[in-house]
């Protein structure tokens, strides 16, 4: 599964980092990074992050 974040609407709340810390992370500058291709074992976490995003900026596909 592919993971994409629409950075035009992302407000860097970090709810994805809380929901799925193995997929999403902040670096020391506070910029968001994510694993772009995940395996089946991580799909549930990615979906939890996508649901939890207040701006609904995470696209899975």
């Amino acid at each position: 599964m592919k993971v994409h974040v629409n950075m035009d609407i992302c407000l860097l709340h970090g709810q994805c980092v809380i929901a799925a810390p193995e997929i999403f992370s902040f670096d020391d500058n506070g910029d968001l990074h994510w694993v772009e291709v995940i395996d089946d074992s991580q799909v549930a976490d990615a979906e939890a992050a996508s649901d939890a995003c207040p701006e609904q900026a995470i696209i899975l596909g």
């Binding site: 970090g14 809380i18 506070g30 207040p54």
Partner: protein, 400 residues
């Protein structure tokens, strides 16, 4: 004189504990033009959009109201709950609790709830609409906000009054008379916990895949969500969901009364309902500021901020900042940058999908049924700071 105090001396000053202080005053706007922040009698007030946006999720800041009971020299069951519940937690503990709670507040749940919101709003409007007048708070926003919580908890609507009274009595804890009101607050807290405990027991006996059901599922692994944390979370949903929605819908009506052409537009184009909620929360948020506390010394915008300093992030001032909003006047058709009515960062309001959903359905219906709404007597307001809103709002309208 040190450099630090020179910086502080040049900042504007706002007395935020003056009962006459208004978040919408000229003094706040003048301060916002003079500096990105103002000194207050209790920490710093952050006034501009970009700074509020950054500081809401600044790694050197934590959520700031966890010390509220201690500051008031209060202990007891309310204080225990307040200090241990989600909003007061940080780091790993906060992340664990938030992960456990998220499924119960997911946007998917709203799809199933939306028709219930419409049904509830219709029932309430049918009651008062033929009169052509009502107290909008007593007859709509309060039973509606509490009714939504009843729906969420799987309680019959008839229990709303009881729940609203408990929440109001517990809510005294957020006021300046916290210590004096402690016996009332403690009694209400105990009643709410008894109530929630009963609810959980009933749901364990007859499992359902709803809000409480989701939390009970999370509680199956006690190391992830203990029995006490389960109860604390449900109490937070009740406590956090009633007054906020009640106040925000009252502020919405007041804003539309002042902008009648926008109300007419919403009635014609109900698909603007969601945008209407966002725009109301930008210009008149019930949560007029969000509090953070510095966990260590740091420098921001050349201003030294000492460990323990409280920062009040003025959401309303930020979202009318002319640096970001060329024309900040109320317009439900305008494309806007995000408001801070639900806070932001790690502590972004957990219930926002529900709040956005229920307020959207309410405003859509109200605009169609209540034409030309106007004030019909004196409106009683909470102070225009902290968590604000109307207590009484007599309105008249042309029923449709």
């Amino acid at each position: 004189m040190t450099q630090d105090s020179l910086v502080a001396d040049n900042l504007p000053y706002l007395d935020i504990s003056d009962p006459g202080f208004s978040i919408r005053s000229d003094a706040v706007m003048e301060a916002r033009e003079a500096s990105w922040c103002a000194r207050t009698n209790y920490g710093l007030a952050v006034l501009r959009y970009d700074d509020v946006q950054k500081l809401l999720r600044h790694p050197k800041l934590r959520q700031g109201s966890y010390r509220w009971p201690a500051l008031n020299d209060v202990t007891g069951e309310f204080a225990r709950w307040w200090e241990s519940m989600l909003l007061s937690q940080e780091g790993d503990n906060h992340a664990r609790l938030r992960r456990m709670a998220n499924p119960a507040f997911s946007p998917k749940l709203i799809t199933t709830l939306a028709p219930k919101f419409t049904e509830l709003a219709t029932m309430l409007i049918d009651e008062f609409a033929p009169k052509g007048e009502c107290d909008f708070i007593a007859e709509f926003t309060e039973p509606y906000a509490t009714g939504v919580i009843c729906e969420l908890l799987g309680l019959p609507f008839e229990r709303w009054r009881e729940l609203a009274d408990i929440a109001a009595e517990m809510g005294l804890a957020l006021g300046v008379t916290f210590k004096k009101d402690l016996p009332t607050i403690e009694a209400a807290t105990k009643r709410l916990f008894d109530y929630v405990e009963e609810l959980v027991e009933a749901r364990r006996a007859a499992p359902k895949d709803d809000f409480i059901g989701m939390l009970i599922k999370a509680n199956e692994d006690k190391s992830q969500l203990s029995d006490q944390e389960l109860l604390d979370m449900i109490v937070l949903a009740i406590f956090g969901g009633i007054d906020t929605t009640r106040n925000q819908l009252g502020l919405a009506m007041a804003t539309f009364i002042e902008n009648p052409e926008q109300w007419a537009l919403l009635a014609e184009q109900p698909e603007l309902g969601r945008a209407a909620v966002e725009e109301v929360m930008r210009v008149r948020p019930t949560v007029t500021w969000v509090t953070r506390e510095a966990v260590e010394d740091f420098t921001y915008n050349d201003t030294p901020i000492e460990k323990g300093t409280t920062l009040h992030l003025f959401s309303q001032s930020a979202t009318s900042d002319p640096r970001v909003f060329d024309d900040a006047s109320f317009d439900i058709t305008a494309e806007r940058k995000a408001h801070f009515g639900f806070g932001g960062g790690a502590h972004h309001c957990l219930g926002h999908f529900i709040a956005r959903g229920d307020m959207t359905e309410a405003l859509k219906l109200l605009s169609q049924r209540l034409k030309n709404p106007r004030f019909n007597g004196e409106v009683e307001w909470l102070p225009d700071s902290g968590n604000t809103g109307a207590i009484r709002m007599p309105i008249a309208f042309d029923p449709a």
